[in-house]
């Protein structure tokens, strides 16, 4: 091995146990979340299925599924990838590795307490913030611990120059604690009065799902696209411009056009949604210049994942733009269009780019080959098919729902009946995503078991090895 490879293998090895801890929990919660989401979607075809069981009523398993996917899978997996990227970009070993390991365990306990809390009826009632207070506190503490390790690694970097990935990831790391603490303090701990609660909940949801995940995902995508093609991110001036315009405009989106709130709030969101065209165009320029010209064969590996995810982010941003603009927004608000945009962002963009980071990091970090390399491509296809079956029917039926709702002569029950076929197709989408998540978990867990076995064999060999003896002449 040359000096470069030795340096990077030491860096990767320092990330081993923290990443295993974070990725393992994330893969498990993704399966749980997608399973619950599939069960929730069954309610529309078989309403009597859980008629006798309060724990599986739609209003409980749907938020439980959403929160398991966001807090159980998306955030911890992304944080693991961020730790690895900071270590590699800074050409330094991961700082304070024991801290993320402890944090991952605290995080998993928090998510478990949260999911069980929602299923037994202790949900807070706020979208994307349904975890009861004890769970939120555990997750917040765990997040701060991981952020400490991330910032320590960043501070200790040998390569001092900042890459575009650094800007996005640092901003994303900073974003979450502020929005999460604000939302929990103003909505759960000391609730504000009346519709102010709804406004803060919408602000939090947009800043978590679109802005924070956008920053963490784009940073990861820029890192992967440049690392795998061994070519830096192109058009860095456009990337800087995209960064600034994104963090200035995107946090102002998210207020629905028809909400019973002072008119200046949805008006501000409408303007911000329109202005989002600017960072979207800048990102397109960076993306096209970075990808076209890179001589990388796309074989269903992490490079393909990262390319697809960035394109999906641009689509998700355009969908949010449509939802947020005053004329079209008034039609599609309160329909399935909103959830379809969220699923595009979560699965089309964020889950796929985080999985790309997991696959790119895992083999190097573990020092082992992936147990099922073919699953990488199969998971990519499962996720793409699942995404298409989930997002396209829901977006289509949301637009139809919206236009039909404008006509009061169409009975509401007819409108609901008209959505059922799209919901049936979306259930198939959940199944494909679940299949993909099982493949991800297979790779992570088999690799973990192999590594544990390797450690056990090493220890056993060391214990049972004959003692060195030296003859002492008297």
């Amino acid at each position: 091995m040359n000096a470069n490879e030795t340096k990077y293998s030491a860096i990767d090895a320092s990330c081993r146990v923290p990443l295993l801890a974070l990725f393992g929990g994330a893969a498990l919660w993704l399966i749980v979340g997608l399973g619950l989401a599939f069960l929730a979607s069954l309610t529309f075809h078989m309403p009597e299925k859980f008629a006798g069981c309060p724990y599986f009523s739609y209003g409980r398993i749907e938020p439980a599924a959403n929160d398991a996917i966001v807090y159980g899978f998306a955030l911890p997996a992304a944080l693991g990838v961020v730790l690895w990227i900071f270590a590699r970009l800074g050409e330094t070993e991961l700082a304070l590795p024991i801290v993320p390991i402890a944090a991952a365990n605290i995080w998993n306990i928090g998510v478990l307490v949260g999911i069980v809390g929602i299923l037994i009826g202790n949900s807070t009632g706020f979208a994307w913030l349904e975890f009861p207070r004890p769970a939120s506190v555990l997750i917040f503490i765990a997040y701060l611990l991981i952020a400490i390790s991330a910032f320590a690694t960043f501070g200790a970097r040998r390569e001092r120059a900042l890459q575009p990935a650094h800007w996005f990831l640092l901003a994303g790391l900073f974003w979450f604690p502020w929005i999460y603490s604000t939302a929990n303090l103003f909505l759960v701990a000391w609730p504000v009065r009346g519709v102010t609660q709804a406004v803060i909940d919408w602000w939090f949801s947009n800043n978590l799902l679109f802005v924070c995940f956008g920053l963490l995902g784009l940073g990861t995508a820029f890192y992967l696209l440049s690392k795998i093609s061994a070519r830096p991110v192109q058009a860095t001036n456009y990337a800087l411009f995209a960064f600034w315009t994104f963090i200035l405009f995107a946090p102002w989106c998210g207020m629905p056009q028809t909400a019973p709130i002072p008119a200046w709030l949805p008006a501000a969101s409408g303007v911000a949604s329109g202005l989002m065209v600017v960072p979207v165009i800048a990102l397109c320029v960076v993306y096209l210049k970075t990808v076209y010209g890179a001589k990388v064969e796309c074989k269903g590996g992490p490079y393909c994942h990262a390319k697809f995810a960035t394109a999906a982010f641009i689509l998700s941003a355009l969908m949010l733009l449509c939802w947020g603009c005053p004329v079209f927004g008034k039609v599609v608000d309160l329909t399935w269009f909103g959830p379809s945009q969220v699923y595009m962002q979560l699965f089309g963009f964020f889950a796929i780019v985080v999985c790309a980071g997991i696959y790119e990091s895992l083999a190097g970090v573990m020092g082992l080959e992936l147990p099922f390399p073919v699953f990488v491509r199969f998971q990519h296809w499962a996720f793409m098919i699942g995404l298409a079956l989930l997002v396209v029917p829901l977006a289509w039926c949301g637009v139809h729902q919206g236009f039909k709702m404008q006509d009061a002569t169409i009975p509401f029950s007819d409108i609901t009946q008209g959505t059922l076929m799209s919901l049936r197709v979306s259930s198939m989408g959940w199944l494909f995503l679940l299949l993909g998540s099982l493949m991800l978990a297979a790779n992570i867990f088999v690799m973990t078991i192999k590594w544990h076995l390797g450690v056990v064999i090493c220890v056993k060999d060391a214990i049972t090895a004959p003692l060195e003896t030296q003859e002492v002449k008297s």
Binding site: G125, W167, T196, I200, W202, P260, T335, G338, Q401
Partner: protein, 244 residues
């Protein structure tokens, strides 16, 4: 950007601005919300929900009813009708014959009213909110911030998988609500709503009948308290039905 500190500063500015706009601003504007006066009346609005309805809101939250139902009525605008009141002179009747009196904007209604008043006539202006939700019978006016003053947590909902419930207390009675929770399809044949059989328990005495549990009673009390049929300055409408 050259240093971590400059990235931190950029993120602080971006998030700080939106925090000021969408958190601090609404807290200052709406956070100290108080009751308001009912239009043309000395009554205050809203009154606190009765005790069992307040408990019912917690049942609504615990079962995640807001995942399928919204409690917010929308409105596209309003039209005004000017209607003569009481006895009027022949001159006023002649004037009125030459004026458009129905389907006016609020400014035009003001002009017409002042012309009739100048001619010595008496009239009333009826305000009629228009919009798909209103036409569907889901409410008399759009929902405003005051309607949710006492609710904690506010459960506006985000998707209309089921109908809007802002005025469900005006549409159905307790018996209908209990039957609907037990078996939605018995009242709405095409309903996609699952039955909530676990909200009911067997009656004491082994008669085999199902009676509502404490949760069901509180939930129905909350649903019956959902009524937004009071005109306000922010959301006026005429309580007198205009003549057709």
């Amino acid at each position: 950007m050259k240093s971590g500190f400059s990235v931190f500063l950029a993120a602080f500015i971006g998030l700080g601005l939106s925090w000021c706009g969408f958190v601090l601003g609404p807290v200052l504007q709406l956070g100290a919300g108080k009751q308001t006066m009912v239009l043309n009346s000395s009554e205050v609005y809203p009154n606190q929900r009765p005790g069992d309805a307040t408990l019912g809101l917690q049942v609504y939250r615990a079962y995640g009813c807001a995942a399928c139902h919204t409690t917010q009525v929308g409105q596209d605008g309003m039209i005004c009708d000017v209607v003569l009141a009481g006895k009027n002179s022949a001159a006023v009747s002649n004037l009125v014959a030459s004026l458009k009196l129905t389907g006016l904007t609020i400014d035009d209604a003001g002009l017409v009213s002042s012309k009739i008043a100048a001619a010595g006539g008496k009239m009333e202006t009826h305000i009629i909110p228009v919009g798909a939700d209103i036409a569907r019978g889901w409410g008399m006016r759009h929902s405003v911030a005051e309607d949710f003053l006492w609710d904690n947590p506010v459960q506006l909902g985000s998707v209309r998988i089921g109908p809007d419930l802002a005025n469900v207390g005006l549409r159905y009675d307790a018996a209908w609500e209990y039957q609907h929770l037990l078996d939605p399809k018995s009242q709405t044949p095409n309903s996609a709503m699952p039955p909530y059989k676990f909200l009911f328990e067997s009656a004491a005495g082994g008669s085999g009948k199902l009676v509502p549990s404490e949760d069901a009673k509180n939930l129905v009390a909350y649903l019956l308290s959902l009524r937004v049929n009071v005109p306000l300055h922010d959301a006026p409408y005429s309580t007198v039905a205009p003549k057709k």
